[in-house]
């Protein structure tokens, strides 16, 4: 309980809130410059999100992958790693789930679906672990290896889908077996046929897992110690290499699960595409806004999901290009990052203290490229 009250008492809870307001203001200014009515655009956004049961359901669907990749990036940040490769891990998770979902026949749902989930998650985890191994055993910077692995994942999954499970005459895979589906039929019906699936529940469990792993286990303590100061952790007798590997693997599993539910829960097939979905990069934004704390990441993903899904309404009703939402998101993160600026606004007379770095959010930077 004390923990909760502390979160709300901490003055820096105001920073994200003010950043959100400033971000929306920036969006309004950009719309005003472009000759649009910002007020009607924002109300269209809100109506789109909260308009009907269907829209609420679809908003939750939009939030789910953002939450998964946000957790993925946040977890790695906590261990001092910049996982820019959540994109590739997401794609590999999709591919693993697709192939298992299509190729295995005649299994009951209770067996098939869990196998597909586990395989997808593990493939994502292994993809993350590659970067972890390269980092811990060869000292390869995880930023560069993740960028490479993102591209390799994209082409590898395209190749696998094209040669193993292609739907004839289409640029996508066949449909997965019904026994692998994780769509929740009765819930979809209750939500006017929005695509509801098990993803959001598993994602919420992952939020709890994230917290317990990092703050309630010895391993998690070690991971965070490595994230704060790898040298000190090493001197204290922590196995830095295996910590790096573990955190990349877990990070990859989170991202992979995101991909799994996109296939098994939402689309039921995988598309051959020339570019990635971008969920991994959105995950970086979510993790940053959420301060790499599981609850923060949850709130961040809700905000981004609402804005992203609502942007379609802005486009339809107020004719505003959907990109405006990306601009708002970018501005929000910018203001969160340069919180010195907001502190000046809040308290102009107090001299701006040199930002005393705390936690792994900031650690992310001084990994820089070193």
């Amino acid at each position: 309980m004390t923990k909760w009250s502390r979160i709300f008492i901490k003055s820096n809870v105001w920073i994200p809130l003010i950043a959100i307001v400033l971000g929306l203001l920036c969006g309004a200014i950009v719309m005003w410059i472009g000759g649009y009515n910002a007020w009607s655009a924002y109300s269209a956004l809100w109506q789109k999100v909260s308009g009907s049961k269907y829209d609420i359901g679809e908003t939750i669907r939009t939030i789910t992958p953002l939450l998964f990749t946000g957790l993925s990036v946040g977890f790695a940040f906590r261990a001092g790693l910049f996982n820019i490769g959540a994109d590739g891990q997401f794609i590999m998770g999709m591919t693993g789930a697709t192939i298992v979902g299509i190729k295995l026949h005649g299994l009951p749902w209770i067996v098939h679906a869990p196998i597909a989930v586990i395989v997808g998650a593990l493939v994502g985890g292994l993809w993350g672990a590659i970067a972890g191994v390269l980092k811990s055993s060869r000292g390869v910077n995880e930023v560069i290896s993740c960028i490479m692995l993102n591209w390799i994942a994209l082409y590898l999954s395209n190749y696998l889908v094209r040669t193993l499970v292609l739907e004839k005459g289409q640029q996508r895979s066949q449909m997965i077996q019904d026994s692998a589906s994780l769509s929740i039929g009765w819930l979809s019906k209750a939500m006017d046929n929005a695509r509801m699936d098990g993803g959001i529940w598993v994602a919420l469990i992952c939020v709890a897992v994230f917290y317990v792993l990092l703050w309630r286990t010895k391993q998690g303590y070690e991971l965070r110690a490595v994230g704060h100061n790898a040298d000190a952790a090493k001197v204290a007798g922590i196995d830095v290499k295996s910590s790096l590997l573990k955190s990349m693997m877990i990070s990859g599993i989170f991202a992979g699960l995101g991909g799994v539910f996109e296939v098994l829960g939402v689309f039921h097939y995988q598309v051959i595409s020339a570019a990635s979905s971008g969920y991994g990069f959105d995950g970086i934004a979510v993790a940053l806004l959420g301060g790499n704390h599981p609850i923060g990441i949850l709130l961040g993903s809700i905000l981004f999901g609402v804005l992203t899904y609502g942007s379609a309404g802005m486009n339809f009703t107020a004719n505003v290009p959907t990109e405006i939402v990306r601009i708002v998101i970018g501005c929000i993160i910018f203001f969160v990052a340069s919180h010195g600026f907001i502190q000046m606004l809040l308290n102009p007379r107090k001299p701006r203290r040199s930002s005393k770095k705390k936690g792994a959010v900031e650690r992310g930077s001084d990994l820089g490229l070193g």
């Binding site: 472009g34 060869r138 560069i144 490479m148 591209w151 390799i152 601009i327 340069s338």
Partner: protein, 321 residues
Amino acid sequence: MDLISDLANLVNSTLVFTTALIFGAMGGLFSERSGVFNIGIEGMMTGGAFAAAIATWYAEKAGYGAASPWLGLAAGIVCGIMISLLLAVAAVTLKANQAVVGVVINILAAAITLYLVKIIFNGAGDTDVLSDVYSKWAIPWLSDIPFFGKALFNTYPTTYMAYVLVPLCSYLLFKTPFGLRLRSVGEHPGASDTVGINVTKYRYIGVLISGLLAGMGGAAITLTTTGNFSHSTVSGQGFIALAAMIFGRWSPWGVFGATFFFGMAQALRNFVKLYDWSKDIPMEFLYMFPYVLTLLVLAGAVGKSVKGPAAAGEPYDPSKR
């Protein structure tokens, strides 16, 4: 005979693809050498590509003819510098997290450019195809040399600039007082400050040069390879430039080697299509090849020596000196 002419073509188109990457990677190099981690290269290149397309388009309509791409290039440079100013203010003055600001720049650049394209071109997702873009210049005498003439001296003006850029950057960084100071600020800002080097000033310069070069790189893509601007014009080349910078171990010649390698990989995709045997290789493997090879090379090279500037990523705080 035929093979030699094919090879010359391959080198030629490799260098065209390399051009954008080398500008981007050199941009990243300057920023990082001054101690500012710049993951926003992608966004700066996007901004440069966009500004070049728009400026060239307006110049065309105003009847500037062959001068239009030069105005486009200038616009690309200005736009790149403006975007990098955002990074400089946030990361150096406000001491914000540099990785975060870089991500923000990528998000904002992609969104704002597309937003403006949609406004200017009535909702279309890409600009009109430009007619006055750069054409290849054959340099008299030099272009008559067998093989090398065709490979090296019959290409776009931006590529000629890239030829000059590498030795120039190498000289600037390693042979001038300016370069020494810039590098010292990236290695140990505290010590540099003690001997009277203005850390803030040099970091601003490093970041702004970075924006200038990345903007040029983006403009080079629009004005030579694609001929218009859409969301897919830059499509990850900024990240590849960043990878090339690390791959090239933060040195201008190393960066040149790495960008040439990635450029060749891009050129090879089109090149092998000319041969029948390429039909047996899945295209995906061909696309994957440079990335897999990079990973293998990095894994093979013993990691310890691959270290960037020591202070890259940390805001400088005099009170902690």
